[in-house]
Homo-oligomer: 313 residues x 2
């Protein structure tokens, strides 16, 4: 094992040891061993973060790459209404990668992990033939049968989103245009916040009939809900919590990597305007049939097609 | 999502649907949802399989790459005495990869999965900037507190290995020398068999005090047991189940990717000569101190240093 990997493993291991372990054993064995609370079920999600596909080293500082890597997995747990517990990081590094980059990556990842009491419990390391390759596995849990699926929406349900939409994609467009961005001024793109507390609230209060996180863009992710629920949907363009600017509506409809929650709720449900400090906006409804429609500000109806995120490779 | 990824996801999904699901939900949601039997704990392991690091497309047929990818994870479950249940595959593919290669990879992986009733329950796909990148997560379970760790060996324990040692590395040396090998004649390298049944037997009968699988070479993996157990070890060179040939001893001591089990057992334990059709050989003992020693055929003692596998990158 090359020195850099050894250092990384040691560092992860020290971190894992220091944290309170829910499990019997941690890193250092062939497998991690986890205990699951009685009457709970386990949630698992895996997400790649590949250099030049999901991030660029010249655009994203290393701690942002580490943060975003874990945020993708945490957001998937949030979208089920779950509580995240452990993360497993598989990381392949090019031989010429500076140690400071690795340190920054791990720092960004662990800072986010600590905020949600998520333990880095294992993983794999390798030398990469080309570019930084990360794959994150996040495990969470929730009481049996309470997972909020994509398939539970019914015609008549209202559709809601958390937060605002479009600013992550807007930042990406600026990066593509060659602009230098200060990460601290574009938090939504560089340090997106997974909506764990909102997901948990909706699950505990049994408010959401179906849920997904917006990683590929509202149009694409709403299509996933419609597909799994065998419904259509109507989206009210003027209601979307879009960012100002001429492309605001397009970015809100199709911009990816927002990591906001998109959920359906029965029409009788009272949904708070804010949950855990995050705004919640009604943006449409679930309808019969299999079509998605956009109701525009001038009263027209247009077909809404999934046209979300394809990454920037 | 490019067409190839869509096809892959559909294929995995169809396979997942067809199989009996232990879980409430399968692929198609943000997370997979798994139920764990009462009084069991969960085992998790993640392993990269990267082109030109862990395999080469010109050496390894696609079904061998798929088989080896999953075998690495299954072998880690075996090394804890666990039963594997689910696998999650993260797979990034170069744009120009032939569909037939992907089909072969998935076929090899699923054939092995089916043999152990392991369900492919999710994963992630992406386009790879360079080379095939796979990361496999395998989940298993066993009754609480029964995991066989690396840390349980004590001075006086005997050390055993399953099967034979060295033929996987021997095949790799031939490939490196430019030889064409028929995969069917070098099964140990191209289609290694994870020792699930042996691991489960040892756990159920409470025969093993510590266990690891030989993925990095006996010298390196025995050093892991010694490190975690805070012991030394003595290995009897003439006892090793080495393959014939002039480098037999070296390959048996240091050759990687054997996926045999290496375990310690209290001196009073009767270990069968064969378990689940696989030979079991006593090759040494656990000793006080922190040194590893090799007792050679001519009665000499040599220091045994970890000199195992570094992959072939």
């Amino acid at each position: 094992v090359p020195l850099k990997e050894k250092l990384l493993i040691q560092r992860i291991r020290r971190t894992a040891d220091r944290r309170g372990a829910r499990s019997g054993q941690g890193i250092g064995d062939d497998c991690a061993v986890l205990r699951v609370p009685r009457d709970h079920e386990v949630l698992i999600t895996t997400d790649f973060s590949l250099e030049d596909v999901h991030f660029r080293r010249e655009w994203h500082p290393p701690d942002s790459v580490g943060h975003r890597c874990l945020a993708r997995g945490l957001s998937d747990i949030a979208a089920m209404g779950g509580v995240p517990h452990e993360a497993f990081l598989s990381l392949a590094l090019p031989a010429d990668l500076p140690q400071s980059w690795v340190d920054g990556f791990v720092r960004g990842l662990l800072k986010l992990a600590n905020r949600y009491a998520v333990r880095l419990a294992g993983g794999d390391t390798a030398q990469s033939p080309d570019g930084v390759l990360a794959d994150i596995v996040v495990l969470g849990s929730l009481p049996k049968g309470e997972a909020i699926l994509r398939s539970g929406a019914r015609p008549g349900d209202s559709v809601y989103v958390t937060g605002t939409l479009g600013s992550s994609a807007a930042a990406l467009h600026q990066l593509r245009d060659g602009k230098k961005l200060r990460p601290g001024s574009h938090l939504k793109h560089f340090y997106p916040e997974p909506r764990i507390a909102v997901g948990e609230f909706l699950r505990k209060k049994k408010l959401a009939s179906a849920m997904i996180d917006i990683s590929d863009g509202l149009s694409t992710d709403l299509a996933h809900i419609c597909e799994e629920s065998k419904t259509g949907a109507m989206v009210y363009a003027p209601a979307l919590p879009a960012c100002p600017g001429k492309d605001g509506l397009t970015l809100a409809l199709h911009g990816g990597e927002e990591y906001e929650l998109l959920f359906a709720a029965r029409s009788g449900c009272r949904i708070p305007k804010q949950i855990a400090g995050v705004s919640v906006t009604r943006v449409g409804e679930i309808v019969r049939g299999r079509q998605m429609t956009l109701a525009t500000a001038d009263g027209n109806m247009e077909a809404l097609r999934p046209a979300g995120w394809e990454h920037f490779s």
